[in-house]
């Protein structure tokens, strides 16, 4: 199992969060890969939705953009961005997957700036649809490579709002979704609690200590189960070459 690259591990673990028949709002990269893996294994009726307005997508290869030919090819429906975000705001899409440059203890995500907004150390791409997804999704799964620099106590800019208790109350008042409930890293599966992320399971080949290595949030409350990848998912993975690269043992 240690031959699985980090991207493949995250996609496999995130795919397990998605049930058949769900509709899932995804972006480019691991979110798209994870949903596609689920669709090609245990969730053949999973509806992939991209912000470009594409519904029921089944990309034959990894797209660079949500408006790429791979997203359109073989899709069930091509509408527009208003339709995609409108369905999301109306609570008609069951879940969403997001990634970002930084994630913090309460699931705030940053894709805007490193450093202060007015004088950034690094100006990044901005929200795109990430803020909107984080506000509106009824269930939100965050995926991140295990790179400790990306895990911070508090993000420099909360592009996509998280689920701190104060935010949770405000979300309810505004009629928003609950915010991120699950975080999949290259080593572990975390669940959101009133104290922030709690390690809930480890990925194959990693211990609880590995999963928490370098992270600014705490130790697990007790023994942590391991996630098992099933044969169908591994076999779907084999058909997605860009996810199948080997990676160094941890």
């Amino acid at each position: 199992m240690t031959a699985l690259g980090e991207t493949a591990r995250i996609a496999l673990a995130a795919a397990r969060e998605l049930a058949d028949g769900e509709s899932c709002f995804v972006g480019i990269g691991i979110p798209s890969d994870a949903a596609l893996l689920a669709r090609r294994s245990h969730a053949p009726r999973l509806g992939l939705i991209y912000e470009s307005g594409v519904f029921g997508a089944d990309p034959p290869g990894p797209p660079l953009s949500t408006g790429s030919p791979e997203v359109a090819a073989g899709a069930a429906m091509i509408a527009d961005g208003l339709t995609a975000f409108g369905e999301l705001q109306a609570g008609r899409i069951s879940c969403a997957l997001l990634s970002a440059a930084q994630v913090d203890r309460f699931g705030n995500l940053n894709s805007t700036v490193l450093g202060p907004y007015e004088a950034p150390k690094l100006r990044m791409v901005g929200s795109g649809g990430a803020h909107d997804i984080a506000c509106l999704a009824r269930r939100l799964i965050v995926v991140m490579p295990h790179d400790p620099r990306r895990f911070v106590e508090r993000v420099d800019f909360a592009t996509s709002p998280g689920a701190a208790p104060r935010d949770t109350a405000r979300r309810r008042a505004l009629g928003l979704g609950p915010g991120p409930s699950v975080l999949i890293t290259g080593r572990g599966r975390f669940e959101m609690t009133a104290d922030g992320w709690r390690l809930a399971a480890t990925l194959p080949g990693f211990s609880a200590a590995d999963a928490l290595e370098g992270l600014p949030w705490g130790t697990p409350p007790g023994p942590v189960p391991g996630v098992a990848f099933d044969a169908a998912a591994l076999s779907a993975l084999a058909a997605l070459p860009h996810l199948h690269e080997p990676s160094p043992a941890p």
Binding site: I28, G29, E51, S52, G53, V54, P60, G61, P63, L64, S65, T66, G67, S68, P69, E70, V71, A72, A73, I78, A79, D80, G81, L82, F85, Q89, N108, T112, Y117, P120, L122, R123, M124, V125, G126, S127, G128, G129, A130, H131, D132, A134, C135, L136, F157, A158, T159, S160, P161, D167, R170, R171, A173, L174, G175, L176
Partner: protein
């Protein structure tokens, strides 16, 4: 077309959400040196970055500026660091709603976003309103009515009816929100051909200011049914745009000396044939 209808200092909506990005029109603006522009759209790709690098952009109203799936917009990043670019930063859904409000002729539309999380100066200034029926707190997203929309599409007829199919994003919203619409198309077709499939028409003739036939006018992005996306070009752009001097030379070669449709002159016939039959292109 650009010379007659685009003035320095105007606000331009650039069509194309990954698909059918109006590179030929944007690069023609660079060649003509029409400056002081405000560019707007939800998710913007390297055409924004090139126009920023070329110095014709004063301000961007946006949800995202980058090189999708590849990385950052390096000219954009440098211009922000240098303080030479004004930012009016929203989110993609907010930008879509700004254009939708403009298109529908109302001064704002309510939305549930932008009430939580860190706000940019633009979103922090957005008004909060209460729904008069439910009391729900909402953000009032102000309408945006660009001066000119630049659009690339598959085909149009002589009258100026424009057919665009495939991935849209906010392209039609932005076009209909704008005061004037300039369009390049892969081909001009007879009116009867267009009227045989009226569902594919997205812009009616009376709203379209001018149309020009510019094959390959969206390269390196793609046109559904015509050619695939030149992903290698997007990746190359990441490399050349990391250094300002390299990027300037690249702009000379690809944009200033020809550009747009003509930038495909720099590709070999084999390259073009491969794109024509690539995923999304003609089969």
């Amino acid at each position: 077309m650009v010379r007659d209808h685009v003035r320095p200092g105007q606000t331009l909506f650039l069509g194309g959400f990954g698909h059918a990005v109006p590179f030929a029109l944007g690069q023609e603006i660079v060649r003509q040196g029409i400056g002081g522009l405000t560019l707007c759209r939800s998710g913007a790709d390297i055409l924004f970055d090139q126009m920023i690098a070329a110095g014709v952009v004063r301000r961007v109203i946006f949800g995202y500026v980058g090189n999708p799936g590849v990385g950052l917009g390096h000219a954009f990043r440098r211009a922000v660091a240098a303080g030479t670019l004004e930012l009016e930063e929203w989110t993609n859904f907010a930008m879509i709603l700004r254009l939708h409000a403009g298109r529908l002729g109302v001064p704002f539309l309510p939305a549930r976003i932008l009430g939580i999380g860190d706000q940019t100066p633009a979103t922090a200034a957005a008004a909060r309103i209460a729904c008069p029926y439910t009391g729900t707190e909402l953000t009032a997203i102000p309408a945006l009515v660009p001066d000119v929309a630049l659009i690339h599409a598959q085909q149009a007829d002589d009258e100026g009816n424009v057919q665009l199919w495939g991935v849209d994003g906010d392209t039609v919203e932005g076009a209909l929100a704008s005061e004037r619409i300039l369009v390049t198309v892969e081909r001009i077709v007879p009116a009867a051909t267009l009227r045989a499939a009226p569902e594919r028409t997205r812009l009616p003739a009376h709203r379209v200011t001018a149309v020009a036939e510019v094959p390959w006018g969206a390269h390196p992005s793609w046109v559904d049914g015509a050619y695939g996306r030149d992903d290698a070009h997007y990746r190359d752009y990441d490399a050349v745009s990391r250094d300002p001097a390299t990027l300037d030379r690249w702009l000379d070669d690809w944009v200033r000396s020809g550009g747009g449709a003509r930038c495909t002159d720099l590709l070999t016939d084999d390259d073009l044939a491969a794109l024509r039959t690539a995923l999304g292109g003609a089969s």
